[in-house]
Point group: C2
Chain length 178, copies 2
């Protein structure tokens, strides 16, 4: 099993702006045919785990399920998903450990953990094994942060860095448990 974070942040660690503004995400212009390696990443994972907020944002786009892989949406309130999602998404509740167990029973070994609150919950339970963080060189100055409070510090090993488009810094970490 491996639970992987793959996300973009501002230089000051935000993943979304306070006002919902998304302009900062294109501070470094990204060519339309360049997915910055996302489809290669997706090819290596088995399922996407996301919280209700992230799922509702996705539903708001009105373009269906974006991923080539099945989704597990964490929610204690949602009871059903719209018809265009039923073939792709299952709802699940419980702790991060419950979700990991559910996924394992279904044969999903590599999980893409997405969405700020979900990532923070998994980190609080030390259930993140790998993080691929792509940093936009901009101080956003407010919004939702990727990282929040932890009961205990968590050490990682920096296994790779890469500069994309001359400006985006991709950092690849593995959890170091000793």
């Amino acid at each position: 099993m491996s639970n992987i974070v793959y996300i973009g942040t501002s230089l000051d660690g935000y993943i979304s702006a306070a006002n919902g503004n998304m302009d900062w995400l294109t501070y470094v212009p990204i060519p339309e045919d360049d997915d910055l390696g996302f489809s290669r990443f997706m090819a290596g994972i088995d399922a996407v785990v996301m919280g209700r907020n992230t799922f509702e944002t996705l539903m708001g786009f009105g373009t269906g399920w974006h991923y080539q892989k099945p989704g597990i949406v964490l929610s204690s309130t949602l009871k059903t998903v719209p018809a265009e999602f039923t073939d792709h998404v299952q709802l699940a509740g419980g702790t991060p450990a419950d979700i990991v167990n559910l996924a394992r029973r279904q044969g999903f070994e590599k999980l893409y953990i997405d969405g700020g609150r979900t990532i923070q919950r998994f980190l609080q339970d030390d259930l993140i094994d790998e993080m691929i963080i792509t940093e936009i060189p901009l101080l956003l100055g407010g919004g939702d942060r990727l990282f929040g409070s932890l009961e205990q510090s968590l050490g990682f090993k920096l296994v790779n860095t890469e500069v994309l488009l001359g400006q985006l810094l991709r950092k690849h970490y593995l959890r170091k448990r000793d």
Copy 2:
């Protein structure tokens, strides 16, 4: 004139732990004779600007002024400095712009801006030109953050990255004003 931040942070952007614990700073062991390029950096700057908190921490070490260059300590409350600092440090008040003007009148062109609150004040007034941030691959999970709220986002250009001791990621940014 150039105002430069040179600082270490955790992977989640903290510069000090909530409880004052400093163990995390040696999460990646640093050989005693390796200053990670600090003296080379100091050779290129003219003066160190720091807030009262950082200065008082330094005084607490009981080993005098640590730097080869003069210091400007920002404080509206301190009236004097201990005798061992009088040859090295001047006290100054006012806004970051006032400090920059004071420094310029004294011939200090390149300023090392140190201490969390001071860095945040300079960033709020868009008076940081360059940042050299060395990231320790550890989620600290609490403490004082390097970056705080800003009225407006600030774009930077990533000019260099370097991995030190196989684990510490040094990122070098220049402020991009257009």
